[in-house]
């Protein structure tokens, strides 16, 4: 695995994770896109040294790139494409409901926490 690739995967991951911790769904979406890229690059790196084109059959087997991780990467890209669309739809719906795309607090949890505290004060 080349050092450049490793650094890029690391950089994408850290920026992606940072964005995901945000409350805004749009930022989370960008974060997931970056994380997805990091994962795809990691998969490519797992295939080892780049070589000649596989499958077309114009180079000896020993010189070929490993096609399997590339197939994985392609599948993963397609899936993350679909999920990005879904997240966008979710953000849109949240914007319709509340005017922004922030993740809200769980009201039920809050209510129970407040009740428990109140009970503690009584005792």
């Amino acid at each position: 695995m080349s050092i450049t690739l490793a650094l890029v995967v690391g950089g994408l991951t850290s920026v992606g994770v940072y964005l995901i911790t945000s409350r805004s769904l749009t930022r989370m979406l960008l974060g997931f896109a970056l994380l997805g890229h990091a994962a795809v690059l990691a998969l490519l790196a797992a295939g080892g040294e780049a070589g000649e084109r596989p499958i077309s059959g114009d180079a000896p087997v020993a010189e070929l790139s490993d096609p399997l991780p590339q197939a994985f990467a392609l599948t993963a890209i397609v899936i993350s494409f679909g999920l990005t669309l879904f997240l966008l739809a979710l953000a849109r719906r949240q914007a319709q409901l509340t005017g922004d795309d922030l993740v809200e607090d769980d009201l039920e949890d809050r209510r129970i926490a407040i009740e428990t505290e109140a009970e503690g004060d009584d005792a």
């Binding site: 997805g36 994962a39 990691a42 797992a46 295939g47 993740v103």
Partner: protein, 494 residues
């Protein structure tokens, strides 16, 4: 026999595709979903009988070499869980058809076909013989579950849906990176080959892979401390959806965790898994005690019950893993029935908040029975299936002399019972004349189908208790096949 395996995945998919374009013709969708699910259940039954007598069945898709291609493997553990899973989805779909007529359920144009997509995802996850197909199967399950959870577009659903999607999407990305690490260090993603190669890796790398996938599968299985998405999102979904999620989704996570970690010989992680199991049990039941809504209490119970299955895995003994498998089989129908009853309560009373309901035992004795039996089973009261399943696990724990986890498991049983009593007193006892109680709705014809489906699931879970002897033998054989990975390896590679 091998072509049957393919049908299990293809048929629900095709039926879903037709269902999506059926538009207003509801009867087409109903017939398609019920027939394809009934077919899947029948196939699962045939496969179980075949595997039980003839041994593991393997389907090589496109006849590729297992190192390159996709293999689907039906061993005893897969066949057992498959049959229970298919039967459960069928029952829930019948309930959904009944519920639609009463206008409280999920959007029928979407939920039926999506449930079928989820079904083929579950089948694929249970049967797949390689990690990458497992990733795809998880995505199939998750994508359909995202949509099922949020398609009504209510505020609470969108809010909790965000947590659910974010957590699971993150776990999926970790899964991909984990795949890259596994492929780079072993040159394969086939489980049988991994079962050979991972034990040969250096300790740090091996433990790293084991821990990494513990996090990935643990998020799906909702183990401590990765469970936060579950009690938040499940109660907001329509009943039928929650019932399927509760019965199956987390269990698929546990199933895969057991399969991967036992096959690749991660025994060294045993103490860590046991610790997590104990924490999962305690935190889950503590959460259930604090809640005052039927669906939320039941959601927290899912978590505490996951702890038991994890305990069986953490022991890494034959009895422990057999116990975990049997617990899994017992848990799926019981949990589904409880959520369906929760749905019936909601349907009748217009809410599932404990302080707004009361006196249902008097007005609805049948509903009370439908709730009481699985609730006692979940708490582990004899002679129900929960008792024997827990007994098996506790027995396995004592055998390996791991006292703390046994104590926690027993104490947890009592606490589960306490929180069930809480639902019982809140919903079924009392006069029910509180001023806040809503007037009883006029029930439409679908109601009978809903109660019928719930009763069928209950009978199935009682049947599991009645036939526990043979079930335990099957569980033990399945566990033995898993621990001695050579059985699996031989079936796939040769």
């Amino acid at each position: 026999m091998t072509s049957l395996i393919g049908l299990l995945i293809v048929v629900p998919m095709l039926a879903a595709a037709v269902g999506f374009v059926a538009g207003e013709r509801q009867w087409v969708r109903d017939i398609l979903t019920v027939v394809s699910l009934a077919g899947a259940t029948a196939i699962a039954g045939v496969l179980l009988a075949h595997v039980e007598s003839e041994g593991t069945v393997v389907l090589r898709v496109g006849d590729w070499d297992p190192e390159l291609g996709i293999v689907l493997v039906v061993d005893l553990m897969a066949a057992l869980v498959l049959l229970v899973a298919m039967a459960t989805i069928l029952v829930v779909q019948l309930f959904a058809i009944g519920q639609r007529r009463t206008a409280w359920g999920a959007d029928p144009q979407l939920s039926g076909p999506l449930l079928l997509v989820l079904t083929s995802g579950v089948v694929l996850a249970l049967l797949t013989g390689d990690l990458f197909t497992l990733f795809v199967a998880f995505e199939l399950i998750l994508v359909s579950s995202y949509v099922l959870l949020t398609h009504q577009g209510r505020r609470g659903q969108i809010r909790s849906g965000m947590t659910y999607v974010a957590m699971n999407l993150f776990a999926s990305t970790l899964f991909l990176v984990g795949l890259a690490v596994v492929y780079a260090s072993t040159g394969t993603v086939n489980l049988a080959l991994l079962a050979e190669r991972i034990p040969e890796l250096d300790d740090p790398l091996r433990w790293g892979i084991g821990l990494w996938f513990l996090v990935v599968f643990g998020t799906k299985a909702a183990i401590f401390p990765l469970f936060s998405w579950l009690p938040d999102s499940y109660p907001t979904a329509p009943t039928t959806i929650t019932a399927v999620f509760a019965g199956l989704l987390t269990k698929v996570g546990v199933y895969v965790l057991i399969r991967f970690h036992v096959l690749t010989g991660m025994d060294d992680l045993g103490p860590l898994i046991l610790t997590l199991a104990g924490l999962t049990m305690v935190i889950g039941v503590a959460g259930a005690l604090a809640q005052d809504d039927v669906k939320r209490i039941l959601s927290f119970h899912i978590i505490s019950q996951i702890g038991y299955m994890l305990m069986g895995l953490g022991l890494f003994t034959l009895a422990g893993i057999a116990g975990a498998i049997v617990f899994l089989v017992h848990h799926i129908p019981v949990k589904t029935v409880l959520f369906l009853v929760g749905g019936l309560i909601e349907e009748r009373e217009g809410t599932s908040a404990l302080d707004k309901i009361g006196g249902l035992a008097q007005r609805q004795p049948l509903l009370a029975v439908l709730f009481a039996l699985p609730a006692l089973s979940l708490a582990g009261i004899p002679p129900f299936s929960g008792f024997v399943a827990k007994l098996a696990l506790v027995d396995a724990g004592i055998e390996k002399v791991v006292v703390p986890i046994v104590v926690i498991a027993l104490a947890n049983s009592v606490l589960t019972l306490v929180s069930m009593v809480k639902i019982w007193t809140g919903v079924f006892w009392g006069s029910g004349d509180d001023e806040s109680a809503t007037p009883i709705r006029i029930l439409r014809p679908g109601h009978r189908l809903m109660v019928g489906a719930t009763a069928v699931a209950l009978v199935a879970s009682l049947a599991i208790a009645a036939s526990f002897g043979p079930l335990w033998d099957l569980g033990e054989r399945a566990a033995a096949d898993l621990i001695d990975s050579s059985v699996y390896i031989e079936a796939v590679v040769s």
